[in-house]
């Protein structure tokens, strides 16, 4: 996956992500696609979450899935989640939960949903995502509504391993970009989507930040690859939320 929160010259934020999923879960020899990625593309939906008769927030989902990987609370914050791989990963959390050792820990995508349901600002969401015990490691990428409100929260099960904030300790003061590696770690050389993503963002520049600009970055190889199922584009200040189907036919890197 690749998530980006970027700021235009007026201080407006665009938050976007490519969802890549289905690695090693079967390969379709006829279409030359990952089997599961192919099937997931048919199941993408957008959801308006309604409470007390009013729109509470928006998200997109794979049908049948009740948690949240991407969501936006209008005029408040936007959130995406990228996989974080650790030895003490999801299995460890599940076993602890089954043994009753972590009854209060949250499942990843349900914590995201709970945050969108209950938190009303970037600061509130950040605090909740950083400090709630959970059952699996993850990167929460959070965008707000005010300039410089962009953060990558690298979560372990019981704490935040690393917080990277736009304009504070990020490599660039106008965007943050997360794939599936800690910000202080080199990506695996065969899975480096950071370098192409950052190169393309520098080509875009701050002046080019918009749905169009960021979509073009996320439609560039290898941020776009055979696992990519969709790109979601979110903007909290004008409540725009667009999901666009993606694929990478032909000669395209498998992940």
């Amino acid at each position: 996956c690749t998530s980006i929160v970027a700021q235009d010259p007026q201080g407006h934020l665009v938050h976007a992500r490519n969802l890549d999923f289905g690695l090693f879960l079967g390969w379709d020899m006829n279409s030359h696609e990952w089997t599961v990625s192919e099937k997931l593309r048919k199941m993408i939906i957008n959801v308006n979450w309604i409470k007390n008769g009013k729109l509470l927030f928006k998200s997109n989902e794979f049908a049948g899935y009740i948690g949240i990987y991407n969501g936006m609370k209008p005029n408040a914050f936007s959130l995406t989640c990228d996989d974080r791989f650790q030895k003490a990963g999801g299995y460890y959390g599940i076993i602890k939960w089954l043994l009753g050792l972590e009854p209060e820990s949250r499942w990843m995508s349900w914590l995201s949903r709970e945050t969108l349901e209950n938190c009303n600002s970037y600061a509130e969401a950040k605090e909740h995502l950083m400090n709630t015990p959970m059952l699996s490691p993850v990167y929460f990428i959070l965008g707000g509504i005010n300039p410089k409100e962009g953060a990558i929260i690298a979560r372990s099960l019981n704490s935040t391993a690393l917080l990277t904030e736009m304009g504070v300790n990020s490599a660039n003061d106008w965007y943050v970009l997360e794939t599936n590696y800690d910000q202080d770690t080199e990506p695996l050389y065969l899975d480096d989507r950071d370098t192409p993503g950052n190169n393309c963002m520098h080509k875009l520049t701050k002046d080019g930040v918009s749905f169009q600009g960021i979509f073009n970055v996320l439609s560039s190889r290898t941020n776009l690859n055979k696992l990519t199922t969709y790109t979601v584009l979110m903007s909290t200040y004008d409540s725009r939320f667009e999901t666009i189907l993606q694929s990478c036919p032909g000669e395209c890197w498998p992940w």
Partner: protein, 123 residues
């Protein structure tokens, strides 16, 4: 260190060619649904599950087909162990997942696995 991929697969920022592939009308390819948090958890997803019943089943079946040759007992394990786990999940998620299982006719354990797949996949 960054390693260049074989040429046909290599990085390619489409902005280098001055291209634009963003077409906002493509957002309408993805349907919108309402999920009403004021409704009973069991009923919140049934309208979506009814539409996508075959796709959900097809996806889960392809995972089963992929896993069972390697772990022949996997299906029974999923149906029993994760089926039992379904009843221990916190509310309102427990009832929402049960509602999807009822609406699709897919056993509870398989819907549970689909919904906690992130935790399983992080290995």
């Amino acid at each position: 260190k960054h390693v260049d991929l074989p040429k046909p697969f290599a990085d390619d920022c489409i902005l280098n060619d001055g291209k634009n592939v963003y077409d906002p009308s493509r957002q309408f390819d993805i349907p919108w649904f309402d999920v009403n948090l004021d409704a009973a958890p069991k009923d919140r997803w049934t309208h979506i599950a009814a539409v996508y019943k075959d796709d959900i089943n097809d996806l889960i079946q392809s995972l089963i087909n992929f896993v069972t040759p390697i772990f022949p007992g996997a299906l029974e394990f999923v149906d029993h162990t994760f089926g039992d786990m379904g009843s221990k999940l916190p509310m309102p998620y427990r009832d929402e997942i049960q509602g999807i299982s009822d609406a699709t006719g897919i056993p509870l354990g398989r819907i549970v696995v689909y919904n906690i797949f992130y935790e399983i996949f992080t290995v």
